[in-house]
Subunit: 258 residues, 2 copies
DNA sequence: GCTAGTTTTCTTACATGTATAAAAACTTGG
DNA sequence: CCAAGTTTTTATACATGTAAGAAAACTAGC
């Protein structure tokens, strides 16, 4: 089929003019993933969809992993960035949560997560917000990076584990291993787990990301200096508005345009 | 080659007598991994090593993933379990750290981690210890399980990310993507990260597992109720002997036999 | 010994990611 | 128009996990 190779194939350029482009590849890949799931995205399928050959793709993309990373970049670039609270601690929590929400929507992420500890360039915005908020909470830049790393480990782990659990559930409920293991626990050797017994399943199904994140952040940041610890269990609405809030808002507004 | 199929092939059993066994498969697989790395462990190679065919393996093992899980089980079963401190908080930290140390030694783990949120049966001992310690710290069993899950996410994430980083380093230092991304950060959009700049690399190389774990546990457990925090930094020897300590020790001793 | 049933093994085949090398489609300089 | 150089595409090939089904090697009943 006659597709435009690319609006401007750079006229004076030597060599065979390209019929494919990274952008088109990513677009097509995304369409396949959106329509039929990431499992259907194979290099051959993608090539066929573009009236090309598998190996032609490899001149635009190093390997499939890079393709998935580009997919993530594309997704992150087009995602709306949330408005973050002013209080630095809440901002940190919100940024981390938003990052996690974003990544949860990317089914191809799991295969990329095991391959790169950082994310697509567009996702770095979230990293920046977390680090910045941590500094505003009183950490040094170095401590803030370490704090971010801990949060990232926690987040990445949650994503990987939950994605795996979902995949396993999808693969028509095979009662493998794990179920068998938990069926016959030795109460003498593992009393706590045996006592939990069948409830383990429902407990691990809970979404505890937010609670765990809060705990982690509690431990990472210097102690709260809010008024009365016992009474402010849910004072997440009272803005303390301590510092340079305006600066940050300006910055955010400028970048929020997508 | 004439190998014993298995000492006792259950004499009265109908059907073709097996030449392979799970145990032998796991043993051979482990040898290959130990000698030449997990990359060399393929179903074909494993079969050849046992004078068999790839598909014969599939009657003893559901798929390669289960094989890797069995490898982990084998490893965990033969690993020495550490003696844990008495203070429940320190015990929790020690158990989690020991678990992580164990898993760090399993190069095949990364491919399994994305597939199962729990581990081999033998590794459940660590889970039990963490949950038990958390309960001793004052959490309800439900809270303890949630706490364990948070710790597991953190631990799994760290393992996955670090393994990926190591793999990337091994694949002859290709300056892909990530490096390029961090080379040209926009200081206006990402001031914190840009300011870190080249130091990001060294900071992410640090091993901060212990610190992050401590922070997480700090946040997960109810506040410390030790007498004078500054003075008893290392009172891990003064047994508080609150509860059934003897029971636990007995239990531990019994199982410590490798 | 023969047949039926059962369990394990083997043969063949397919889809996948991707390495290697050849071919194609251009540009530029003669 | 032709030769050399450059970039993209194609053809072919290989290793991998594993599905499907045939074959082999045994036991029990006749």
């Amino acid at each position: 089929m006659g597709r435009m190779p690319t609006p401007s194939p750079r006229p004076g350029r030597p060599g065979r003019p390209p019929r494919l482009s990274r952008a088109e590849i990513v677009t097509t890949a995304r369409r396949i993933v959106d329509e039929e799931g990431v499992a259907k995205l194979t290099m051959r399928r993608l090539a066929r969809e573009m009236d090309s050959t598998p190996m032609a793709l490899y001149h635009h993309v190093r390997d499939k992993e890079e393709l998935l990373l580009l997919l993530l970049e594309d997704f992150a670039a087009h995602a709306a960035r949330p408005r973050l609270p002013d209080d630095p601690r809440e901002r940190l929590l919100a940024a981390a949560t938003a990052m996690r929400d974003l990544l949860t929507q990317c089914p191809w992420l799991v295969e990329v997560l095991t391959a790169d500890d950082l994310l697509a360039p567009s996702a770095l915005w979230y990293v920046e917000q977390v680090v910045d908020a941590a500094v505003d909470c009183g950490l040094t830049p170095e401590q803030a990076v370490r704090a971010y790393r801990s949060i990232w480990y926690y987040t990445a782990g949650e994503l990987v584990v939950r994605a795996a659990a979902a995949r396993r559930r999808a693969a028509d409920a095979r009662p493998t291993y794990r179920e068998r293991v938990f069926a016959d626990l030795d109460p003498a050797a593992l009393p706590r787990l045996a006592a939990l017994g069948p409830r383990w399943g429902e407990l691990t199904a809970e979404d505890t990301y937010a609670a765990g994140l809060r705990a982690l952040v509690d431990g990472l940041l210097p102690p709260h200096r809010t008024g009365a610890p016992p009474t402010d269990m849910d004072d997440r609405h009272d803005r303390q508005d301590r510092e340079d809030r305006r600066d940050r808002e300006d910055r955010q507004d400028r970048e929020a345009g997508e």
